[in-house]
Subunit: 474 residues, 2 copies
Amino acid sequence: MNQEKLREFEPIFYPQSIAVVGASRDEQKIGTRYLKALLTAGFKGKLFPINPKAREIMGLKTFPNINSVPDPVEYVIATIPRELIANLLDDCIQKKVRVIQMFTAGFSETGEEGQRLEKEIIRRARQGGIRVIGPNCIGVYCPASKMPGPWQLGKPGAVAFVSQSGGHTGKLIDEGIAREIRFSKVVSFGNGSDLDSVDYLEYLGADPETKIIGAYLEGVKDGGRFFRLIRELSKSKPVVIWKGGRTEIGARAAASHTGSLAGQNIIWTAALKQVGAIKVGGLEELADTLLAFQFLPKIEDNNVALIGGLVDGAGGPSVAGSDACADVGLNIPPFTEEIREKLKGLIPLEGSITQNPLDLSRIGENLGILSQVMELVDDDPQTSLVILNEDVNLLLRNMSTSALRYLTNFLINFKKAATKPLVIVSPPGLSYVQRAEEGKRLLEAEIPVYPSFERATKAIMNVIKYWRNRSQIL
Amino acid sequence: MNQEKLREFEPIFYPQSIAVVGASRDEQKIGTRYLKALLTAGFKGKLFPINPKAREIMGLKTFPNINSVPDPVEYVIATIPRELIANLLDDCIQKKVRVIQMFTAGFSETGEEGQRLEKEIIRRARQGGIRVIGPNCIGVYCPASKMPGPWQLGKPGAVAFVSQSGGHTGKLIDEGIAREIRFSKVVSFGNGSDLDSVDYLEYLGADPETKIIGAYLEGVKDGGRFFRLIRELSKSKPVVIWKGGRTEIGARAAASHTGSLAGQNIIWTAALKQVGAIKVGGLEELADTLLAFQFLPKIEDNNVALIGGLVDGAGGPSVAGSDACADVGLNIPPFTEEIREKLKGLIPLEGSITQNPLDLSRIGENLGILSQVMELVDDDPQTSLVILNEDVNLLLRNMSTSALRYLTNFLINFKKAATKPLVIVSPPGLSYVQRAEEGKRLLEAEIPVYPSFERATKAIMNVIKYWRNRSQIL
């Protein structure tokens, strides 16, 4: 069964050759952007620009139509107007193309005429043995096979994402590159007329490269099949779902966007919970949660240690971090008496907090003391994760950029040796370049980094909820 | 009454001379940082470093104690250990100092002994006619009088902020400089033993420079007086309150931080609502809401126009923006038939949405068409505000940096001519430098900019809530 699924999707995520229909000499055209992205990413298979008016595009021999390509064509990217799609489909059937990804829009999302056209196209494609991605979609992004879609290619990894929105997909990939969320497969499938969310999700369940699954959905066609599948998938992989159009106004927008009937939020919420999926409310929580699943181990205990800051001014953040923890159900148990006594020997009394949360006053500047403190926190038997606030802007008022770099190195080394996972909060501010640089280094060391306590704690709790639920159902 | 209040606080926010007790030749010492910040900001009054071991600090003649200063000293910044505070106070009384701001910590927030010490110091200060800011606080930040605290000085403006956390204060000032939130007066008052939140708030109510008031509070001493005051202030100025320690765990942290008894969240929530204050949940919402009050006019109507994006990929954001609007109670009424017809003549059918929300497909690249579209949106009689998604990262995939700059210029000019206020959502991504630059230009043009629909809509709704409530109570 799994082997069959993997074989079925082989031409979708690992095609040997791609034709880009609608590429041109105009660099701003979407077809050209697909082609350029494939060339830039170093796609290993054959590439065929299709354009009746050009002989060569970006140094590649260009063909007037699919049938004039001498080699086999496995995968077609269609960016031409909808009026030309029927003819293209005929050509593709003749050429024994396996997959068409239709960027082309103007189908069921625009009304009755579009619905009719879409149905007809899918019927003919199925007859001809061609799978359709879309229409009205951006298609596949797969770092392992160097298929970037029209985007920049990031690192390969274990996170998959299926989406009814190309915009959100692009944004998540963008966030992924910025925040080290590394993808196995991403597919923006738009109207999903042939291959739909459940098809992709079934494949991702079988895919050995995929360990975590995210989805942006505005609606599903067969709710029963969908929820049964999610329950099955959740037994082995976390499934994180962002439901678009969860309000009445949002649902109206979704109908115009992908022609989806959005369905009632209350039903979705209950059903997703029941099948063990993690429901998120927007792109931020989606990215935050995928990042947490990617870098955090299995974790079921909700007791955490909180370090409000490394230099002066950590009292307020300690309170805010505590509120954020409590809001989502994370607990901050006071350190054991033994550990508190040892901490008191290291941290000055004034302007500090030696319970949990920990406000280190200014000792963050002394890495010798900081390492002893962090080891004590790591030793505390009552917590299973450490949340630390590294406010780059605040730190740079107290130390040089190179001292900040040492501090980040220290945190990276601590993470490597520690028994507990470390999550870092790095709030925005004026020093956005240094913040981005230090944040990137932490992320490259596989430490999840968040811009606020609220976002960090939500993501952590989503991970805990998943593992608790998984223990229950198994 | 008002004149009296203003006179009373004159030495606090507009002192003629400041002595920094504890400044030294060590640049990392907090006293030295206060002194350096005052010099950098160009404080106009006289500055006296006080240090028995130095003759000169940063080019300024240094005195061994307050009494050896030949000129009058109006305002003292104390950064010395708590054991030395009693003697300093004696000196200050003798010198007829008006105000002491005590950075010094280790008082009531540390337990019984600290509480006793704090009480005794405040008693003596009152006897001697000296007002105390703190202890355990960072003190005053006032751009108009070039008092930066230990921070960088931003532009003067109409937003005041009072806070029990120095950390949050620094962070908000930092956000303010980055996001053009311009302050009249800010005071971090820590334990607030002498002058407390209500004292500062009363002053800010009277202060003609202050139009909007923000507060971070962990507790208040006299709830009745506090809530009566907020009700009075809210009649003429929005009061935005972030309550720290609103959860049990957070309250415990607050007790260690400022010795505050945090009080029950449910009571706070109800009471703040009743007196017309706007309650926010954290630093992000606080800054977002102050920014919205600063740049948005009086607005009571909750019907908005939403532009999901300016180039491809705006379908998903249109849905997400709609959900975010609906979540907070903003409505997105469809455009009138007349306007829709005109829009259809300008925007291609495929891949666009011509209702409200509006998905412009790729026409954002054509400023001629965009200006006609934006004028139509501005003309629609059913909405009173426009929310527009300018995704810099996405735009830079479609246009050059200079074209993006033209687009931002266009938005700035549109805002100047438009009848409706404009709010821009600028989500983060890889192009963080360009995003910061374009965002800064929009903010300088007094257009509120937010990183997500969620944050924008929350802030907008907070403004609407305030004006609706004010209409009701007046």
